[in-house]
Symmetry: C2
Subunit: 487 residues, 2 copies
Amino acid sequence: MNSADFRRHAHDLVDWMADYLDGVEEFPVKAPVRPGEIAGRLAGSPPHAGEPMATILADFRSVILPGMTHWQHPSFFAYFQANSSRPSVLAEMLTATLGAQCMMWETSPAATELEGRMLEWLRQMIGLPEGFVGSIQDTASTATLCAILAARERASAHGVGMGVGVGVNETGMNDSGVLTAYCSVEAHSSVEKNVKIAGLGRANLRQISVGDDFGMLPADLDRAIEADLAKGCRPACVVATVGTTGVSGFDPLRAIGEVCRKHDVWLHVDAAWAGNALVLPEMRWMIDGVELADSFVFNPHKWLFTNFDCSAFYVRNPAEFVRVFDILPEYLKTRDGSSVTNYRDWGIQLGRRFRALKLWFVIRSYGVEGLQQLIRSHIEMAHSLAEDIEMAEDFELLRPPVLSLLCFRFRPQGADEQSLDEINERLLQTINDSGKLYVTHTRINGTYAIRFVVGQTSTEPRHVREAWTRIQDLARDLWPAGRSAPD
Amino acid sequence: MNSADFRRHAHDLVDWMADYLDGVEEFPVKAPVRPGEIAGRLAGSPPHAGEPMATILADFRSVILPGMTHWQHPSFFAYFQANSSRPSVLAEMLTATLGAQCMMWETSPAATELEGRMLEWLRQMIGLPEGFVGSIQDTASTATLCAILAARERASAHGVGMGVGVGVNETGMNDSGVLTAYCSVEAHSSVEKNVKIAGLGRANLRQISVGDDFGMLPADLDRAIEADLAKGCRPACVVATVGTTGVSGFDPLRAIGEVCRKHDVWLHVDAAWAGNALVLPEMRWMIDGVELADSFVFNPHKWLFTNFDCSAFYVRNPAEFVRVFDILPEYLKTRDGSSVTNYRDWGIQLGRRFRALKLWFVIRSYGVEGLQQLIRSHIEMAHSLAEDIEMAEDFELLRPPVLSLLCFRFRPQGADEQSLDEINERLLQTINDSGKLYVTHTRINGTYAIRFVVGQTSTEPRHVREAWTRIQDLARDLWPAGRSAPD
């Protein structure tokens, strides 16, 4: 493909991209395709000769697009959003064009220094105390893995009585005794996954009970740690969650942090989604006590209008953290190596994309004020929906929104409690098959609940109102008033 | 930013992008900036009010661009390239616009099914045997970590005498005895890093000697495994390298594979860079015996014109592999969950970008033939340079190219052996400070060597010829003929 072809196709794409973002709500949110349907339309083998870009782009529209779930659709209320924005897309165009691999300072000085500055901007924006130093990770899963690895190293090095000594990175975990980790029963599944990856073993993860508000019970945490110590285990890491995935529960950081300090256990805070709402000063109560934490992660790619992937991960002691990961073979030595930040030492991967650029574009283009305004509007929409749900006699609000996540179920008159799970499961499928909105589910103390999150960049109050009208209509079609069983 | 603004700025960017790719060779390859220089030009705090995109874009050009090392420069001969291409950039524009998060089939059916198909295309293209099933990982570091974790689970589950039983994912490594891993002394630093991450401990990584050709000595590997077994260790994983980073050594896969089969040890093949040259049938000798491997990784983002990040990772037993990572909380359960591929279970991260699209664009746009032609041309350029170096009396070829990587040093008449490392270190700095080309270094049996890799998308024979002329001129300026010491 020569330069003129690139220019022509890229201009065409820009018009398509602008039209797509303008008109994305015309698409079904969730792809209406069956498993294997798209694969069946793809060639079984690669072409020997090159094909014209016009053909490829036409196939993109006719083959790929119908099989996409449209994450940027304003009626995407599922999971957590991965909301992007026009300034972020512009930055991604540049990132792709520069094609820089930002593993260390020398290979990308501007990318490295912009990353440092953007993480400092974000720190200020969310009210994280001074002294937390950040890096960009791909996802919160990876960031939490890094935290657990650092905690593992600290706990095992302490264990040999050297303060900072030789930990499991050197000796292996077979020598370390049983290292234990802690999170609430509502914590994200990535905690369990990472405890396994880090070699602690699922059996050594203690899932602590939550109170009525779905926050971890610090006294239970304390008891669990004491019990492990009594058994000769080494408590290594507590993962506290600010805004749990299922129901948006909030672990009390100060009380948990005090327990961690008492027992010298690493405290990692997973604020993947809710952390973005910390740009609102009125929401800072969520991280009261965060100064007791050793690490903290939140995802601008979830709710700060920045393209996936972009996870902001902070540690309080960068020197200790970097020692867990750094390694310096001859071919990576550089002249300025010791005086600069080399982000390759800040995590799993050696290679890194230039992800700071989109943060710079987004934060400057919206301004802090603009970001606050959008996030406030999402929270307001969720609260407004919650009021509507509470007023509907045949719906039940199971989890009111603290931020912009709420859970509810349809509870038609005449339906017995036993059938409600099945009714709501069918309702969820019907809603999503409509293509008009996309919601997902969770279970709250065993009860099947429809889970609704407001957070798409282009979501307006009318989208939430239309969603609510449609949900009611579909529910009442499924179970007309007076019926004693669903169709 | 409204739609009209986006359209206008995106069109402007396209012209900038096309011009940049056309004219990138006018920039200094390596950023001529001092540490802190770019950071000093960035605001200390985020703006309260939004700023016009025109201002941001102007700052991109005046503040960021001068601090970039230009990875797409045709005279980038450093590290391994991260070569992209115009079709790949077009795909990245679409990926950014769709903003899909492809963690599982339901959230992105087309992305999931295209990923499966692209990995199958690549498998055919590189001559990997049928039965290897692939996924996209961000980097080879991550893929190798996944392989080691799977190997760890297999070795520890075998250990409890159950064939496939409860491994360290459940019990933790404290119960597992000493698990050992093996690679050559020339293997990439990510192997050591991942052995630490996986909790095996650096002390339990055996770095096996290489022969004169820099390939691992299988008899030494066998002896090391036998010695560990005699000590009661459990050999878990061998990482063999096809095309080592330092000098492009090739571990003999068949002989290593036979050792692994004999001892029932997982064999992972790291072909991160060289694997791309397998699109050339004449290079398939590199993976003779690969059918004995359990996993295999190569990086299209290095040398297949596909934007970073895009690492192709294959396993022979997907069911065993997925069991290492899968986890299914309520909020991730979907209707078709059990009948489809959910790539969230294929690695560390839950969230995933839509990375298959760029592979589809690149492979179709170039065709297999076009990709072969470019890679052949890179190999030819390296061989041609090697001939020139061999003819120069004051240069020494330390590692002739097998593919497109070679190592050499300046060896002026009159310089004693002791000062050659220092002379070449100074020469490397002078070369890179020229801004006209970018090379890096390694050590070969302790000797400092300038390392030169041909692999940029737009590199033509003239770029390599100009680089060689410049290297000679700079070297002879540094140490004029007849001098007995450098300036």
